[in-house]
């Protein structure tokens, strides 16, 4: 029975993936190219895909950081920004920009658009897929570029890379933390929750999934199942037949979710989450009205209200961020066999 059921699941997931790809194919009409510089993508380039909306504050640091890491080309979809994001991105030499005025939610939170771009441009490349508020950290990221990580993963025959997202927050109220665009956001947002992550294994798609962190503690303690998922697969050696299933939390085919080992540890990373910059308060007000962010938005009204109230997320037990080795000591990521 186990075998038959496995076969059936595999078959259904295969069709699920095809549906996602087809969906992306249909949604490609919602995209309009603003700057297409993809002709300068080299054969071995590392690409970064992202959907953004009003991220002018974060993008300067975001681009600087990922350029230094060794991303060769950025592919952005701008979903109706009105704060200069559009113009800023269009002016960057290594950015290709598309724009869409259509619904973020109905394009699976931007995933359909990105899937289309990945079909077109991602095939055969290592692709980073992140939001503008996510900064990827991996072991030795300060001394070894991304291309070395991907070379290592290639050598290990690992096609995807897992990272857990960590909500970073300031010591006082959210609004008290001043931030100038271009600065490292984690100078102010330097605290986090180190040991309250709960892992669930999603058998069907072979996906280890985590919930926890500051948001789960402060806003979802009474309904932990509703807390945001924190595990992601932000780095994948892409194939045009792949598709992200649920944001970047999981990928199909499901073997790509296998970023863990039964006994030992594989190499894994961290996504530093700069959500709680002061702008989050105003943004939550807007998003609460827009209802574009969650499948069932009404459940999250309390959450938006709590953020709008400008809370203090810091506690006595918060840990101050001091580099990737700390994450490794705390058991949040691992070098695996990479030394």
């Amino acid at each position: 029975m186990g075998f038959a059921r496995e076969l059936k699941t595999a078959y259904l997931l295969r069709w699920k993936r095809r549906r996602l790809l087809f969906r992306a194919l249909r949604k490609r009409h919602e995209l309009r190219a603003v700057r297409n510089r993809t002709s300068c993508i080299g054969k071995r380039d590392i690409l970064l895909f992202s959907t953004v909306r009003n991220e002018a504050v974060r993008l300067p640091h975001f681009l600087t950081y990922y350029r230094r890491l060794g991303v060769d080309h950025f592919l952005f979809v701008d979903n109706g920004s009105d704060d200069g994001t559009h113009e800023y991105l269009a002016g960057q030499e290594d950015v290709s920009l598309w724009t869409s005025e259509h619904s973020y939610r109905q394009s699976r939170f931007g995933m359909d658009w990105l899937t289309w771009l990945q079909i077109r441009f991602g095939h055969g490349h290592w692709c980073v897929t992140v939001d503008a508020d996510e900064i990827l950290i991996y072991p030795f990221h300060d001394s070894r570029p991304l291309s070395e990580l991907t070379a290592w993963l290639d050598m290990q025959r690992q096609q995807s890379f897992g990272a857990i997202m960590i909500d970073m927050y300031p010591k006082g109220r959210l609004s008290e933390n001043a931030y100038t665009p271009g600065d490292d956001p984690f100078e102010g947002l330097c605290w986090y929750d180190a040991g309250n992550y709960v892992w669930t294994y999603q058998q069907k798609i072979r996906n280890p999934s985590a919930q926890g962190g500051a948001r789960a503690r402060a806003f979802f303690a009474h309904i932990p199942r509703r807390a945001p998922t924190m595990s992601k697969k932000p780095l994948v050696k892409w194939n045009r037949r792949y598709a992200y299933l649920n944001s970047t939390h999981s990928v199909l085919p499901r073997r790509l979710n296998d970023v863990h080992d039964q006994s030992g540890r594989l190499t894994s990373g961290i996504l530093l989450h700069s959500k709680f910059l002061p702008s989050v308060i105003e943004r939550s007000r807007v998003e609460k009205e827009r209802k574009e962010h969650f499948a069932v938005s009404s459940i999250y009204d309390d959450y938006y209200d709590a953020v709008i109230a400008d809370p203090v997320l810091w506690t006595e037990d918060s840990v101050r961020y001091s580099g990737w080795r700390q994450f490794e000591d705390l058991g949040l990521m691992s070098r695996g066999g990479w030394a």
Partner: protein
């Protein structure tokens, strides 16, 4: 010694990253070493010619006939032979020949190496271990490297390769090894004396050997290693080139962040170096600063770092759940990361048990961590170490991971908590299966708190029945053969016979190395009338059998404590 000394020759095999290889070749040549370079045929002609032109001013740099080299095959040995022959023929002063690749980097001044070899003029440095005795290879092919045939490329024709190996195994094919040869294996990178190397190359049986090794798997790790044994007695079985392998047998790459490690290792040469490691190349290819050391290489630290990496990759950190490690149930290699103690019933029987325990032992004592309305963290905190929330919904989402996280977050400090029949039952199995748990139960002690409660008797009877049922189920788990925790169960009556001794025993077990004798006992809850209370429950059809045989008249024989007053040991 000066740079006129031409006793050390270097054979350099270059495949990729020509620019770096060129830098290293210049470095060898500048320091007075004759160099013979073999450039892989697969390198395009133009880049190769540009590469060769850069050495026009160096008479002591020669280029040998180019072959197309493929990893794991004979062509690499052949290229080495050709280059070595050229070396021996063109540079008669050379006494030691050092085999290196383009991604090898000399870490110490070349003079150091020359001095080192000069002091050992007859010694051959070649790692060479008998396949009989050393299970080195990863992937299973060790002795079979020499007894099967390998006509197919592992890189390009993997299926044929694997299929042919299987076929030969099935029909029981076994090659005859040429007479007088005892297969040895070791690192590809060696340093041989002229005497040994020429003996190998000029051996009358060379044709026969070459024919045999042509079909051996990865002959570059066995050809010279085996033949050196025939032609020389003076073999130091180690490589002067530092190489590290991961758990799959692939070589590790050294990066800029390994600089200090490499510098302190005192190794002569290391590989593989990442071609873009600017700092490493800049540091180690600087014109040799006269500081001459004669020390032996010391690779302890480097060895440890890389064996740690293998351990990390293959074995988990017990009690840790994370993205890159998520064990199946039953394969955890430890459910939690450190020992902890669970006390059941003690809080009912003693009024100030938690405060007393933490005062006596100095460990972290929580209340009922799995209480229905809140996780009672030490000091009543609502958020505990690591950001654990005391909200019961969060905790009961996955009680096992909650406990594992708590133990992990506080690693280095022993923790204890209370548990009782009202608490989350799901954690029972988790604790029972965890060898780190020390579980001590006074069964039926919950009756004491009921006895002191101010409830209607009918409610008490109802609660007592529920608690007894829950505790009985819990005890059944603790007594199951699958239990790995250290469990001690007393009925309340049993415990009360020698309470001080029992407490002392638990403390000793908790803190084995401290011979802690406590002078102050916890305060016992008042038990006058308790016997009657139990009898009353019985009279209402609810037999509290988990309490044990508690005398109804309350004249408890071993009862040493005048209720309500602390007990002092003299």
């Amino acid at each position: 010694m000066s740079t006129d000394d031409r006793s050390l020759g270097v054979v350099l095999l270059v495949h990729t990253a020509l620019e770096r290889a060129g830098q290293v070749a210049h470095h060898w040549a500048r320091n007075g070493c004759p160099v013979v370079i073999h450039v892989d045929r697969r390198v395009p002609r133009e880049s190769c010619q540009a590469f060769m032109r850069a050495f026009a001013d160096y008479p002591a740099v020669r280029f040998s006939r180019r072959l197309r080299c493929e990893w794991g095959r004979w062509s690499i040995v052949r290229a080495t032979q050709i280059a070595s022959e050229l070396m021996l023929a063109s540079f008669p002063d050379v006494r030691h020949v050092f085999l290196a690749s383009g991604s090898c980097l000399p870490l110490r001044p070349i003079d150091d190496l020359r001095t080192y070899l000069g002091e050992r003029p007859e010694t051959n440095f070649i790692e060479s271990a008998s396949t009989e005795d050393v299970p080195w290879t990863v992937g299973g092919l060790d002795k079979e490297r020499f007894t099967l045939r390998f006509p197919f490329s592992w890189k390009r024709q993997r299926r044929l390769f694997d299929g042919y190996v299987k076929l030969q195994r099935r029909i029981g094919y076994c090659r005859t090894i040429p007479e007088g040869i005892l297969p040895h294996m070791g690192s590809q990178w060696w340093c041989l004396t002229r005497q040994t190397l020429s003996a190998i190359l000029e051996s009358p049986r060379r044709k026969e050997y070459d024919r045999y090794f042509r079909r051996v798997w990865i002959p570059d790790e066995s050809y010279f290693q085996t033949l050196a044994r025939i032609h020389s007695r003076n073999i130091e079985s180690r490589s002067l080139t530092l190489t590290k392998f991961d758990y799959q047998g692939k070589p590790h790459v050294f990066y800029d962040d390994h600089l200090q490690l490499l510098r302190r290792s005192d190794c002569f040469v290391a590989r593989k170096i990442w071609p873009k490691a600017d700092r490493l190349y800049q540091t180690f290819l600087r014109k040799s600063s006269g500081s001459r050391r004669t020390g032996e290489p010391d690779t302890n630290k480097i060895d440890r770092i890389f064996s740690d990496a293998v351990a990390r990759r293959t074995r988990g950190r017990p009690g840790l759940y994370m993205h890159s490690r998520f064990p199946n149930e039953g394969w955890e290699n430890g459910l939690t990361c450190a020992p902890y103690s669970v006390f059941e019933g003690f809080g009912d029987l003693f009024q100030n048990f938690e405060a007393w325990l933490s005062r006596i032992t100095g460990i972290r004592v929580h209340g009922h961590l799995f209480a229905p309305d809140e996780a009672e963290f030490e000091g009543g905190q609502s958020v505990y170490c690591g950001g654990l929330s005391s909200h019961p919904a969060t905790r009961d989402r996955n009680p096992g991971q909650f406990l594992a996280s708590l133990i992990w977050n506080m690693r280095g400090e022993r923790q204890a908590f209370q548990y009782g029949p009202d608490d989350t039952p799901e954690i029972g199995w988790f604790m029972a299966k965890d060898p780190n748990a020390q579980i001590s139960v006074i069964s039926g002690a919950w009756a004491v708190s009921l006895f002191h409660s101010n409830l209607d008797f009918s409610t008490i009877r109802k609660i007592a029945a529920l608690r007894q049922k829950a505790e009985a189920a819990h005890l059944e788990i603790l007594r199951s053969p699958h239990t790995k925790a250290r469990v001690r169960i007393w009925t309340m009556a049993e415990f009360m016979e020698t309470p001080m001794d029992n407490l002392q025993m638990l403390i000793d077990e908790m803190l084995p190395r401290s011979s802690l004798r406590f002078s102050e006992a916890p305060r016992l809850a008042s038990l006058s009338g308790f016997g009657k209370f139990l009898q009353n429950l019985k009279n209402h059809g609810m037999h509290p059998y988990l309490v044990g045989n508690f005398p109804p008249d309350n004249a408890f024989p071993g009862h040493p404590w005048p209720a309500g007053r602390p007990y002092l040991v003299k």
